[in-house]
Amino acid sequence: MLVLQILIDGFAISTLYALGALGFTLIFGVSGVLNLAHGGLLVVSAMIAYYVGTRLGLGAYIGAGAGILAGIVTAMATYLLIVRPIQRSRVIPARERELFVLTGTLLWGVMLQEMLSYIFTDTPITVKPLLPGIVDFLGVTTPANEFITAAISWVVLGCLWLLVNRTKMGKQLLAASINPRGLTLLGFELSRIYLLVWIIYGVLAGIAGILLGSFLGTSSEFIPALTGSAFSIVVLGGLGSVSGTLFAAYVIGYIETLTAYLVSPSLRNVPALVLLILVLYIRPQGLLGRR
């Protein structure tokens, strides 16, 4: 009974973690950008979904659509206003662009947080669930929304896999991540590929933000923590490795759930943090990363 409960609950949380971190790892894999405003994208989408779905009363589905749109807009803004100007800057030495992207996105995250807190206050809200009600699954009562969340997450993950591995566009993305210069030499326009990948990132972050917001609630104050946990999962799995990210998300999700059920809910985060330090120390490239 307890085992099944832990399995179900851990699965739901882990899947959300995976989806939440996926865009972060994708954008790093393809364009080498660590977006420290990542949590901001998630929360903006969730807040807009809440505003449209609940405050304006247009319902969960229109709200979710607006949220995803907000995710795309915010991702584009991150790229066009912050990342691209830094990457193309003539005054910033090439060797230090990475640091400037980090600092720039960090500042952008602060701005998103302040804007949200000004418009919506810091009070946490929940996004309207797509499917209300509960399901009795082998004797464990679980909200239907939890199943929907897991199902949507896996569909999105599947689509992304197909996109990367089965389409021409995906091959270009892969090529861009492995050898950007080679791709340019072949006559492809890198900037278009990057733009595209930021749009995909926006969609992923939008969906993840809305699902997180309906399952766990959201608030502008969550932005740094969300960025932090995506960062942890991605590094634990190996930077830029999509399968590593999925694996790490499940490792962290289940460790947290086990701790919460078997030890104490208030110690939930501690074992995962310790594990993170240990893994980084013993295997700095992450669980599934290549050096």
Partner: protein, 307 residues
């Protein structure tokens, strides 16, 4: 060396500091209070710059070291009732131990990996403080029986003196052979090692020095505030401010960290009438400065002088 002491920037710095030391005779207590906090932040940023700017170590967790210093000193005061200077030394010692502990993974890891370790160190420290709320004060913060002084002027002079001495020492270190070796190790560790330098020793020393000043400053700050709390000295948001200040002022200059920190805090005060939006405006200003002038405010000053 002689040339350095008669150089324009040096004279300018001394002049500014001399005027600064006379401020208590002319301006209100409130401005002194703002600048006191700013001076302690200046030391945070300068210490961070030694690690990042010179040794190339991506330390996302300056507040791990600051927090150890602050809580070390605060707990020595509130639990053991030791004299204030002893408490400050205990805080500094705790920070140095923490700094050396951070240096160990730094010997193996670089870039984002080290960044994450330092970030996790902050999160763990935060958890420990909350879990052991009985002795640390937990979420609520530690109230301390002693303060440096109730009056603004002495507090201001302590902070100014501390910032000046720390800044001078850190600057001297950065310009010494030690600093050059750090810089070489940060940019090309293999070459530096091939030249026969003991990088391990230098890196550990850099972490210890940075920790010493961060810790001292954290300890002094809590004795100025009369309270140590997670959101004042440990929170990641504080670390972000320290990093932004160092980059904004101009990294790899030490002095830039001080300029950036003072600018951020004073700008925040001037924009106070904007209320909630003040942080947003400061962030936008900081972003514009680093985009336009990657060498920060100090770089802008230099550029103006050369043209």
């Amino acid at each position: 060396m002689k040339k350095f002491f008669s150089s324009k920037p040096f004279i300018l710095t001394i002049g500014t500091l001399a005027i600064a030391s006379l401020l208590p005779f002319g301006v209100s207590d409130y401005i002194l209070g703002v600048l006191t906090t700013a001076f302690y932040f200046a030391v945070f940023s300068m210490s961070w710059d030694l690690l990042f700017g010179y040794a190339g170590e991506v330390n996302f967790g300056p507040t791990f070291l600051i927090g150890l210093g602050a809580y070390g000193a605060g707990m020595a005061d509130s639990l053991l009732n030791l004299p204030v200077p002893v408490c400050i030394l205990i805080g500094a010692l705790a920070a140095v131990i923490g700094g050396v502990a951070l240096a160990i993974p730094a010997l193996r890891l670089t870039g984002p990996y080290l960044g994450l370790i330092t970030l996790v160190a902050v999160l763990l420290l935060q958890q420990v403080i909350v879990i052991f709320a009985g002795v640390t004060g937990g979420e609520i913060g530690l109230s301390m029986p002693d303060v440096l002084s109730v009056n603004s002027a002495p507090n201001y002079e302590y902070a100014l003196a501390f910032m000046t001495v720390s800044g001078a020492i850190l600057f001297a270190i950065s310009r010494s052979n030690f600093g050059l070796i750090l810089q070489a190790a940060g940019q090309d560790p293999i070459a530096a090692r091939a030249l026969g330098f003991n990088i391990t020793k230098h890196k550990i020393a850099a972490f210890a020095i940075s920790a010493l000043f961060s810790g001292l400053s954290g300890a002094l700050l809590v004795f100025y505030l009369g309270t140590a709390s997670v959101n004042a000295v440990v929170d990641i948001a504080i670390g972000v401010r320290v990093i932004i200040a160092a980059v904004l002022g101009g990294r790899r200059t030490i002095i830039g960290g001080a300029i950036g920190a003072i600018f951020l805090i004073v700008a925040g005060e001037i924009l106070r009438p904007l209320g909630q939006l003040s942080t947003l405006v400061v962030a936008i200003m900081a972003l514009i400065v680093i985009m336009v002038s990657p060498d920060g405010l100090l770089g802008m000053l230099r550029a103006r002088r050369t043209t």
